[in-house]
């Protein structure tokens, strides 16, 4: 039971990280990105082949690298590779494409990556995938299944907290503000000297780096990864979480993840099986999520928690306060 609850919460935590990543790409830069799970998968595979020993599979089955490196290095490589891949994809997709055209380009990106990974058995062993991933840190901890599942949940929660704090600062920084301005009106952003292409490209890459981290955590949680473990359509689950929680609002996105992914996804597991309809559960799940999105868009389009306003702080840095007073005096004169 503990293992089950821990695994539900761990998956929820990883999905929360992915939802935050998508929120940067969609909620901040305003571009409808469908390719996020391609980056999650690349992150998962890169971390897998960084931590696994060299491939001893009989050809044609094979996976590249096999560096036998520790888990943290696997995560780091996953983030770096996904960041670079984001820059490559973004440099093509974001140069002049926006809206629907951008979205379609990201769909194509996902399908290409999926096709290459699943059909080519040399890179990541095709449909059979990679398996037998080491459990991070369990070599030295030597915990039982229950204890380890709780430990891994804690690890994912720490990662989520770090991502949250990283993004929270970025949101309010001049960079975040300029990025959000390109979502609102990119012509106005350019009129005030902002390089819209470069800003959006960086936003896309930040989302990619975080997706890579989430992918690495997912791979080591499953201890195996193959094309059945990720579906391009899963990105719509994340969009559901973002819409329900509130586009652009990080706390809202976390709340939406709890609603959509943890509650609906897991609650439908307990529905009675209908004989002869093995896939009824997942169908009902998608119907419920669809209804939830429609309901939210109709009655609360801004989501449960709307995007926060960046309020002007009452107090400024001490050096400047005198200048502020001078400004006030100027006003009354």
């Amino acid at each position: 039971m503990i293992t089950y609850i821990a695994s539900v919460l761990t998956l929820g935590t990883i999905f929360a990280i992915l939802a935050l990543a998508l929120n940067v790409r969609y909620g901040w830069t305003g571009e409808l990105d469908i390719s996020l799970f391609a980056f999650v998968a690349i992150g998962a595979y890169v971390s897998a082949v960084t931590t696994l020993p060299p491939s001893k599979l009989p050809l044609p089955n094979h996976y590249i690298l096999g560096l036998s490196q520790p888990f943290l290095l696997g995560v780091a490589y996953a983030m770096i590779v996904c960041g670079l891949l984001s820059l490559l994809v973004g440099s093509i997709a974001l140069r002049s494409l926006r809206g629907d055209h951008f979205a379609i380009t990201t769909v194509a990106t996902t399908l290409i990556i999926y096709a290459v990974i699943s059909q080519n058995t040399y890179i990541f062993n095709g449909f059979a995938g990679v398996y037998g991933l080491p459990e991070p840190f369990n070599g030295m901890l030597d915990l039982g299944p229950d204890g380890y599942s709780l430990f891994y949940l804690g690890l994912c929660l720490v990662a989520l907290l770090l991502v949250y704090l990283f993004l929270e600062r970025l949101y309010h920084s001049p960079f975040g503000r300029a990025l959000r301005s390109t979502r609102e009106d990119e012509v106005a952003s350019a009129a005030f000297g902002r390089n819209v292409y470069w800003l959006k490209l960086q936003g896309y890459a930040v989302g990619g780096v975080i997706a890579g981290m989430g992918g690495a955590l997912l791979a080591h949680f499953l201890t195996a990864f193959n094309p059945y473990a990720w579906d391009t359509a899963e990105v719509f689950l994340l969009y559901a979480a973002i819409f329900v929680g509130g586009v652009g609002n990080q706390r809202g996105v976390l709340m939406g993840t709890v609603f959509v992914i943890v509650l609906i996804q897991e609650a439908t597991r307990f529905l009675p099986l209908i004989p002869g309809h093995a896939d009824a559960q997942s169908a009902i799940r998608f119907i419920l999520i669809g209804l939830l999105i429609i309901g939210v868009l109709k009655w609360r389009p801004q989501g449960l928690l709307p995007e926060p306003r960046a309020r002007d702080p009452r107090t400024l840095a001490p050096v400047e306060r005198t200048a502020a007073l001078a400004g006030g005096a100027h006003e009354s004169s």
Binding site: P174, E184, A190, A191, G193, R194, D312, V319, A323, G327
Partner: protein, 263 residues
């Protein structure tokens, strides 16, 4: 053509042409704007005034011709680079960032100066905070001047049309470019506010900002602009004071009888 030489032009448009498909929007247009002046740009609908502003600001690229700003060729440069050189513009309908607050709209008018680099948010938070606070102090002062101070935490999209216009002027005053191109600053604003607008434009000019403004309201132009350039059918046909232009046969013809009468 009464195109007298401008002594110290900050903006020179030389034989600039632009066509959209079969429509020649701007054709061999040539004129200059004196540094520090408030210059008007008038002409009947379809004369190519807005296209010219789009060309000068880098929003669209000219087919041919030269646009020189402060001695440097800028034709074909993207808008954000032109803006960073100190040539900014406004739009016919105000383009605020609706989902950001009024204060955020102000802070974004500050020239980037590398401050919005991603890494700075983490590696130099203290320095960044201080620079931001200096900006905030100045932005608050300007918002007070433009009667927007109490609305600084409001989303810019919720402002009225007139308030959006004022925010636009406040942003330009904050950005302090060398020159600004104002595309119909009076459009969508209650005529009662005309005096306020004139005051705002003169204030920008007093700060050392050269102004080129497009406007259909000729009395408004006359009050503001000692020198006015007239465009018709995509090219500049005359320039001078409004009094001189009233006596100009070409100008009268452009306004009253644009279509050549076939005999």
């Amino acid at each position: 053509m009464s195109q007298a030489e401008i002594p110290d032009p900050i903006l020179e448009v030389v034989h600039v042409s632009k066509s959209y498909g079969g429509v020649q929007a701007v054709k061999e247009c040539t004129f200059g704007v004196a540094r520090g002046s408030v210059t008007g740009l008038i002409g009947p609908n379809g004369a190519g005034k807005s296209t010219l502003i789009n060309l000068a600001s880098g929003f669209v690229k000219p087919d041919s011709g030269t646009i020189r700003f402060d001695g440097a060729d800028i034709q074909g440069k993207p808008m954000h680079q032109v803006s960073r050189l100190g040539l900014m513009r406004t739009f016919q309908s105000p383009r605020e960032w609706p989902g950001l607050t009024v204060m955020e709209n102000m802070l974004l008018a500050s020239p980037p100066r590398g401050r919005d680099a991603l890494w700075r948010a983490y590696l130099q938070p203290g320095k960044l905070r201080q620079a931001e606070d200096v900006d905030r102090v100045r932005a608050r002062e300007l918002l007070r001047d433009f009667n927007l101070y109490d609305l600084r935490d409001e989303l810019a999209g919720n402002l009225s049309g007139g308030q959006k216009r004022l925010l636009e002027f406040a942003r330009i005053a904050f950005a302090q470019p060398q020159m600004v191109l104002l595309d119909e600053p009076q459009s969508g604003v209650n005529p009662v506010l005309a005096d306020r607008m004139i005051e705002a434009i003169l204030r920008l000019n007093a700060d050392g900002i050269t102004v080129l403004l497009i406007e259909h309201n000729l009395p408004f132009v006359e009050r503001l602009c000692p020198r006015v350039v007239v465009m018709a059918l995509g090219t500049s046909i005359a320039a001078g004071s409004m009094d001189e232009l009233r006596a100009d046969a070409d100008v009268l013809d452009a306004y009253l009888g644009q279509v050549p009468v076939s005999v």
